[in-house]
Subunit: 133 residues, 6 copies
């Protein structure tokens, strides 16, 4: 059901294998998930996307677990089943407990509710909120 | 430009004022933002929405700052200008630094990119991700 | 701030005027709203869109007010400010009361909440729901 | 493929059973659909979401069928397969005929078309629409 | 798993068959895909949607391949699996190469990223962009 | 109304100026639009986003005009006003005529209509479409 052939490690070019190797080394795993195998049909996008994710998800002002929770929240909000499953797994690996998952989902639900209410009522932004930035 | 009249405290019914009072007491502020003034046209929705947000955003397995960052991330991802402004302000009040804001936005951008790529390539969920839950 | 010049009645071609005339006659109004003036830059799309809306919104198994409430609900849910304003006005003209507007918005908010929860938890469709159709 | 274990009635806590019982009593059914079994992993969200839906979907200025049609329309518009199936079933139970289903879907399609056209052309809201509220 | 019965050619009314015949003649194919079989439950919507697509996708200022690539891009961006599959097939028939598919998807991903960043940072439209139209 | 200070060239660090210089050189322009000035608050995201866009939008299997039309189509579909304005301007610079703009918008509208109909009716993907890839 994929739009492209999923490229396994054994059949990958050296360029693709280099990215696969870096993904496995960075994440300390010994397998590649389907998302990357699909992107491998376009090596430039595979490399660019991986380098970007690696940079964005590296520890910074926010810790890796918080970053994964945010990534999971957006994936759930967007209704992307693949991303919800993969980033749910990634968040769990970073320490997400069942209670945290529940709270993330409750916020996702609440935010989607109030986002649609604010849009639906066409609520104007308060002056005070503008002054904060 | 609002779809309903924004109800100020002075013109509010006792039922609406009770919610306004609880919002101000809970958040330790002395004013009400436009979102609630719009919802006040429907007191049941005002009360229900406030009670729900209060419950969802209370400290739990996740701290208030993390919760606000997630709320902000979804609002930004959904393109809700009002909610981005109001939850940006709320997150700042909870301690969000400019670096944190940048990292939240970078994740929002990245997640929207990979969500659309996973959907566009119709990537099947890996068996290993299914087994995690 | 529009992407195209808004075409007024006086400057319109006969082809565009014919659509404008039909819009005003069908809706019993004496003016044209900006949506149509923007579409008029592409007469084929103007005609096709108007003919389609006229057909879809005509009385059928659902009455005109119910149809406008549904149109308004989707516009609010999608965060389309123009459509929320214009279909809010159209619904009001068809008899939408302030109480109805409140109830529509409450459903919009609730549906967006539970839609994101169902997607976020990746809830499988119950067998019983499949058998209904 | 769910993100959490679906909690059956027999294994549920008293707190969860109380909500399940109220759902079955309110809807006059003798089973619980998967959405609630997924939310049951987070009893507070289960209760809050159910109480909110019960309040929002109760008869008011709009009758229960109209409310379910709006809920179905938004679920279809959002592409939430679970919600489309469950609220399609709920609407059918409230009296939705095949003709009504067709008309709801036609409006969903039309609204998504014109919403994207209004956004794409960046059509400014007409003064007359602003004055209506 | 469909919301309506899929109507096959043999069981279709003359009205529906006429549309099916025109679809097959226009596209030079000898079968009907499920989308039209679902719409056939509502002959007016079947006819209107087909006539509209035929008009919109006909050669014009843009050639048929470019039009299909745009249709595919939006379907992928919206996460509509059916439309991504069907318009992916249509684009391939019009000459889309694997390299073109990769580039379309890369743009889809990039646009979704920068769209969410522009919304998230609430970037004001530059004066110069307004003057162009 | 922006969430961050827009950084002008004169106040930018050397790191930010290097990106600004490359944007102006690549696009053969002598000014920087607000999107980049907002991202400049996070130099890593500014650089990463610019390098990615430069790579994705470079001539390839698709020419620059076709790429900009697809970018514009997604921005319009997503309702991102900033991106619609900026990529509308970019497409015009690449040769987009008013007729092309009209056709892009007509496809955006049509795709959003049929995407929501396919989702709403929960149409299963035809076997034949699966076999194409």
């Amino acid at each position: 059901m994929t739009m492209v052939h999923l490229i396994e490690y054994d059949e990958a070019t050296a360029e693709v294998r280099a990215v696969y190797d870096d993904i496995m080394a960075t994440r300390r795993i010994d397998w590649i998930n389907n998302f990357w195998k699909a992107l491998a049909s376009d090596p430039a996008t595979l490399r660019r996307t991986w380098e970007s994710i690696k940079e964005v998800m590296a520890p910074g002002a926010l810790d890796p677990l918080t970053k994964e929770l945010i990534y999971l929240a957006i994936s759930a909000s967007n209704g992307c089943a693949y991303c919800t499953a993969s980033h749910g797994a990634a968040a769990k690996k970073q320490g997400m407990t069942p209670e945290m998952l529940s709270e993330v989902m409750a916020i996702v639900g609440m935010a989607n509710q109030t986002n649609s209410l604010a849009n639906g009522y066409r609520v104007p932004v308060d002056e005070r909120f503008e002054k904060l930035f």
